[in-house]
């Protein structure tokens, strides 16, 4: 039994890191995805192969990069390639196993909005935009989304589809010609959601320690489906926490 205490962001990041299997090729965005990937590569997945959109492939940074173009990535990479090569030769060609994405809004079918809150032409909040996300969501074999749970973020329909999850339900990705499986898991600070195998609707399948189903329902902007059998996230191990904190500087 771990006696450690940990924050809700920490359990989210540790859970995300666990969804990376050793040897996978992982398309890593900055922030939570990068932290989770670097935790994984220092714990159970030493041969995780990280590709950053700046063009570094197979980097093993000794500290957490400050940006997707941090010099430590170039210094430790197997190779540095150009941005067109990253997107054309690696992502579009279907060579990436898993893409990690964040989002400002996500909806019932795991569609992702990072563009705008409100109306596009008269926005309430202007967000950073698409970046690499639309093609990551389209082309990686699978996508894992990491984001904090709230009613503002988990909405019935996103204001803007920046990156397609499961569209409007079953068969939509195939109709759109998207070749990857799309989001297979959404990891939040409360638990884990997965698309239902038949309806493709995001369904609560796991709870972090101490969290109840009602908490998650209250933080979700639609009538959330809950799996019959809910898993309970194992507590972060001491190793996971110490690795994570050494990366984030919280130790």
């Amino acid at each position: 039994m771990s006696t450690a205490t940990w924050t809700s962001d920490e359990i989210m990041t540790v859970t995300a890191s666990r969804s990376l299997r050793d040897g996978m090729a992982c398309f890593v965005g900055i922030g939570l995805p990068s932290t989770a990937a670097n935790v994984a590569s220092r714990t159970h997945a030493p041969d995780l192969w990280m590709i950053y959109e700046s063009g570094t492939m197979g980097a093993s940074p000794d500290h957490l990069p400050l940006s997707i173009g941090d010099g430590v990535l170039a210094d430790t990479a197997d190779a540095v390639i150009s941005v067109p090569e990253v997107f054309n030769y690696w992502l579009q060609a279907g060579r990436i196993d898993v893409g990690f994405l964040g989002a400002a809004q996500i909806d019932r079918y795991a569609n992702i909005n990072t563009t705008v809150i409100g109306d596009y032409d008269d926005p309430k909040v202007r967000l950073p935009g698409a970046g690499g996300a639309p093609e990551i969501a389209a082309s990686c074999r699978e996508v894992v989304v990491i984001m904090r749970h709230s009613r503002r973020a988990f909405v019935d329909r996103v204001d803007f589809i920046t990156s397609v999850g499961h569209g409007s339900g079953p068969g939509e990705r195939e109709r759109l010609g998207l070749r990857g499986d799309g989001p297979v898991r959404v990891i939040t600070d409360l638990g884990v959601l997965e698309p239902h195998p038949l309806t493709r609707e995001l369904t609560l399948v796991g709870l972090h320690p101490g969290v109840q189903v009602d908490h998650v329902r209250a933080a979700t902007g639609w009538d959330l489906c809950v799996a019959d059998e809910l898993s309970r996230t194992p507590e972060p191990t001491d190793t996971e926490l110490s690795v994570l904190r050494s990366l984030t500087g919280a130790d």
Partner: protein, 275 residues
């Protein structure tokens, strides 16, 4: 012969031009952006995959009429408040936007560098970007019938990049993360490169990109010209400056003071260690 930055910007950048300043978190041509602000250029169409703080500054200073981009933010810090203010409140002037994905922008530059009118990619399918951007169209493969996205070539009037070194005849060498700079330069009508130093001979470096002098219109020696971003082998990213920008950019008054200070500051000395 290297040109002083002030002279290079005056000669190569004009009101109304389409201008790309590229550099993917590394080698961002910040000093050149500041010189554009100092010279008070107006009505620019600014192009950049990842507009960050120097674009926030250009937008806040009222240089831009339009922004063509794929991700606008203060990397690792947060939002661009001048960009948001321009989009949502037209301050100081309205900002038209045209947005793409990274894959779309990268391929637009590739087409531009290749002398092609458009590029094709698997992208945008099912996204709302399509309906808000007339520059994304569908195209069918003439062999398989598969539907793909087409985007038009991007050919800036001027591309500005920062590089580690140039030689005395104007060949340019950059290395580390080289992003989209080669394509952005080759796609442009005119090219300005600011460099850390000029050397007699460019010793080959692993991972280098060379831009032959015949595609470079002007080289300006501006040591530190990429700060607060970094120049691999020269200096590190000044993360404090990125964080500090958040508070300045968030507030119109703080920004206005910053702008007044910048525009009263003389341009950096044109001749660097290598000149």
């Amino acid at each position: 012969m290297p040109l002083p930055l002030e002279e290079a910007i005056r000669g190569l950048v004009h009101d109304g031009d389409t201008v790309a300043l590229e550099g993917f978190t590394h080698l961002i041509p910040v000093a050149a952006g500041h010189e554009i602000i100092r010279q008070g250029l107006r009505e620019l169409t600014l192009v950049r995959m990842t507009p960050d703080i120097v674009y926030d500054q250009l937008i806040g200073a009222g240089c831009a009429r339009k922004l063509v981009f794929s991700w606008g933010g203060n990397p690792g810090v947060g939002s661009l408040h001048r960009f948001r203010d321009a989009v949502t409140h037209s301050w100081p002037v309205p900002l038209e936007i045209e947005e793409h994905s990274h894959a779309g922008m990268a391929n637009r530059y590739v087409a531009g560098a290749s002398g092609l009118p458009f590029a094709i990619l698997r992208g945008y399918s099912g996204t709302d970007l399509v309906e808000h951007n007339p520059h994304i169209k569908a195209i069918a493969c003439p062999f398989t019938g598969q539907e793909l996205a087409a985007v038009p070539a991007l050919n800036p009037d001027v591309t500005i990049i920062h590089a580690q070194r140039a030689d005395t005849v104007g060949n340019v060498q950059l290395w580390g993360i080289t992003g989209i700079q080669k394509e952005a330069a080759l796609a442009a009508e005119r090219v300005l490169v600011t460099v850390e130093e000029v050397v007699d001979h460019l010793d080959p470096v692993p991972g280098q990109v060379i831009l032959p002098s015949r595609v470079v219109d002007a080289v300006s020696v501006v040591p530190g010209g990429a700060a607060p971003s970094y120049a691999h082998g020269y200096y590190e990213r000044d993360n404090t400056a990125y964080k500090a920008w958040d508070a300045i950019g968030r507030d119109r008054e703080a920004f206005t003071s910053w702008l007044a200070e910048l525009t009263h500051t003389p341009a950096p000395e044109p001749a660097g260690r290598g000149a």
